[in-house]
């Protein structure tokens, strides 16, 4: 038996593996499918679970995601690993046309307890076909829940919540965070609620909403700004759909200034959605223009130095804050 408050030092990637291990132990309906899953972190699961529940799939993204949907409709709770986020486009048919719509189209006769995991592989010299951060891809489609954890604890707690959720969930994991270690609760029922953003730092001068791997940069920007007397409130979005409007609007009501840090391309990003919500529902409290700090509309180059410049950094956040304070 684990203690309620016990913790264990785990990296973000280890936390993901532990979440799956615990849920597979707890519920035999949970299975894991994907290409070469041992290579993407799951090798230690093979010590404990067999080939029935750990499925190395052929390279057939649209179909193995759909196989997950079919299995979810009929009594299993599959986790499907789409490894690299640009493979989401290959499976977006089954995710959008089937997973997201089947419950509705059948008049709620069915449920789709499916988890799709995928990793954003940017800042890794993999060039344009592997480095996408398509957080907004599934945002326009009702029926899905979409997550993007930024800490090891959240990676664990949100993935566990997703596995227990009865609706289809897509979770974006950020490889730039894979190595980050922290104390993670060992309680088997430790869950992070879907739909709740986390205030990582309080401050009254400006709100910085941060998505996935932007968090470390947002926090160090906030530290630097504090030295100049600007207190930033840093919100870690964690859940993209459904959006925690309340936490964001409450903060903006206090600060009157909003920065959104998002490593997607700027146009049509999650940052755009947040800006839209605040310009609709939080307009009266806004003192200055909203600032999106995001990747520009160019593809990710192979050259590492140029690649790095596309993404959110401490300095870019500081500049954005300076522009409105």
């Amino acid at each position: 038996m684990t203690m309620r408050n016990a913790t264990q030092k785990l990296s973000y990637l280890q936390a993901i593996v532990e979440a799956q291990r615990e849920e597979m132990r707890r519920d035999e309906r949970v299975i894991l499918m994907g290409e070469d899953i041992a290579v993407y972190g799951a090798q230690s699961l093979f010590d404990e679970f067999d080939n029935k529940r750990l499925r190395n799939t052929p390279i057939s993204e649209n179909s193995f995601v759909g196989v997950g949907v079919g299995a979810a409709l009929t009594g299993l709770r599959p986790i499907v690993d789409l490894t690299i986020a640009s493979f989401c486009y290959l499976a977006s048919d089954q995710i959008i046309n089937q997973a997201a719509k089947l419950r509705f189209m059948t008049g709620a006769q069915l449920a789709v307890p499916l988890v799709v995991r995928t990793s954003t592989f940017y800042n890794n010299r993999t060039a344009a076909q592997h480095a996408d951060r398509p957080y907004p891809l599934f945002m326009n489609t009702p029926g899905l829940k979409v997550l993007a954890p930024s800490t090891a604890s959240d990676a664990k707690g949100l993935l566990k919540a997703a596995i227990r959720d009865d609706d289809p969930v897509v979770i974006f994991e950020d490889i730039n965070l894979w190595g980050k270690k922290e104390e993670v609760p060992t309680d088997e029922d430790f869950l992070v609620p879907i739909g709740k953003a986390a205030v990582r730092r309080e401050g009254g001068d400006v709100t910085i909403v941060s998505i996935a791997g932007c968090l470390p940069h947002a926090l160090s920007a906030a530290d630097a700004l504090a030295k100049d007397g600007v207190e930033a409130e840093v919100i870690d979005l964690r859940t993209i759909v459904p959006l925690d409007k309340e936490t964001i609007l409450t903060s903006v009501a206090k600060t009157g200034r909003l920065i959104v840090a998002d490593n997607s391309h700027k146009v049509g990003s999650v940052a755009s959605e947040i800006a839209a919500v605040v310009s609709e529902e939080g307009f009266e409290s806004l003192k200055r223009p909203i600032q999106r700090v995001a990747a520009p509309q160019v593809h990710v180059p192979y050259n590492a130095a140029l690649e790095k410049r596309l993404f959110v950094s401490k300095d870019r956040i500081i500049d954005a804050v300076r522009a409105i304070t």
């Binding site: 499925r55 649209n62 759909g66 196989v67 949907v69 079919g70 009929t74 059948t106 009865d166 739909g195």
Partner: protein, 326 residues
């Protein structure tokens, strides 16, 4: 195990239910892709399944739940868009899914059912159940990547799946010969190491026999079978779509209507088995069933805006203020 007399009559009943259901739609609510002409393939396949076996289907969805034995009223009400419809009026003509009978999806995205049926087979295998999963699809759907991907996965994992092609010769206006490098669909099975079988889809008992064999293989853990039932659609692709070109001849259509009607053919077979009076009783009964279904559908209420929100998630996310009222 061949069908006993009661099963033969049940198969005839289901075929006739499909036919009269579709004819009622033409009369009352001209919507959808009709299965007239394909009843033998559908009922023959379904009669080889248990109630708890899974079925996925297509945009041409009406026949599949009827073939599987579903109650007619909620199917009819669905096509009328009513709240008493099997999908509450939200799914409609292309999505008649009755989960009580293992129907998990009629996919209007051509090829969308392959992975789902394969996943249902995976589920049965992982859970150690002896259910099988039958995937209905058209000849055109074979050219979707999901066909190849999913059949291969079914084959690698020896899943209990029957891939059942209703080959009616055309995808909208495109004949098989103009869209398939090799027009014999069953022959594609070899590429995945599974058996491929061709059967006359207008001969319901022949369809039943090959499907039963495939079901037994699947239940025995020997993996999938690809069945190609050669059939024909008597009506237009969809009775809502204007087709501006002649892509099949009137003679061809008339030939099938006159010589190859699966219901006429099966009725004649059953008559030779001295079942005429039973047939006539079924004919009267089905007519009543369909009439009552139309009445039920017409008299039923419309769904409401809140039904949309309530059908989205298992734990409904509530409608933002105002939007529930649109």
């Amino acid at each position: 195990m061949p069908l006993d007399r009661a099963q033969q009559l049940e198969m005839f009943r289901r075929m006739l239910r499909i036919r009269l259901f579709e004819e009622a739609l033409i009369a009352h609510n001209p919507v959808g892709h009709l299965s007239i002409g394909q009843e033998g393939a559908i009922a023959g396949a379904c009669m080889a399944l248990r109630d708890d076996d899974y079925v996925t289907g297509t945009h041409r969805s009406h026949g599949h739940p009827i073939g599987k034995g579903a109650e007619i009223g909620p199917l009819m009400a669905e096509i009328f868009g009513k709240r008493t419809g099997i999908c509450k009026g939200l799914g409609g003509s292309m999505h008649l899914t009755d989960t009580k009978l293992g129907l998990i999806c009629e996919s209007a995205i051509v090829g969308g059912g392959f992975p789902l049926a394969t996943g249902a087979g995976l589920s049965a295998q992982v859970r150690g159940s002896d259910q099988v999963s039958l995937c209905f699809f058209g000849d055109g759907a074979v050219n979707q990547g999901t066909f190849s991907e999913s059949v291969n996965m079914g084959a690698v994992w020896k899943l209990p799946v029957i891939y059942f092609c209703e080959n009616n010769g055309y995808a909208v206006t495109t004949p098989v010969e103009k869209s398939h490098g090799q027009p014999e669909i069953a022959r594609r099975a070899d590429g995945y190491g599974i058996p491929g079988v061709v059967v006359d889809g207008q001969d319901a008992e022949a369809v039943h026999a090959v499907t039963l064999e495939a079901v037994e293989r699947a239940r025995a853990g020997e993996g999938p079978t690809l069945i190609e039932a050669k059939t024909y659609r008597f009506d237009e692709h969809s009775n809502r779509l204007a087709i501006p070109i002649e892509y099949r001849s009137k003679e061809e259509i008339e030939h099938h209507r006159n010589e190859r009607d699966p219901i006429t053919l099966y009725r004649a077979v059953l008559q030779t088995r001295d079942l005429l009076s039973e047939i006539e009783a079924i004919e009267a009964e089905v007519r009543t069933t369909i009439d009552e279904a139309v009445e039920f559908a017409k008299a039923s209420p419309e769904p409401e805006m809140s039904d949309l929100w309530d059908s989205m998630y298992v734990n409904p996310i509530s409608a933002p203020a105002g939007e529930g009222e649109l």
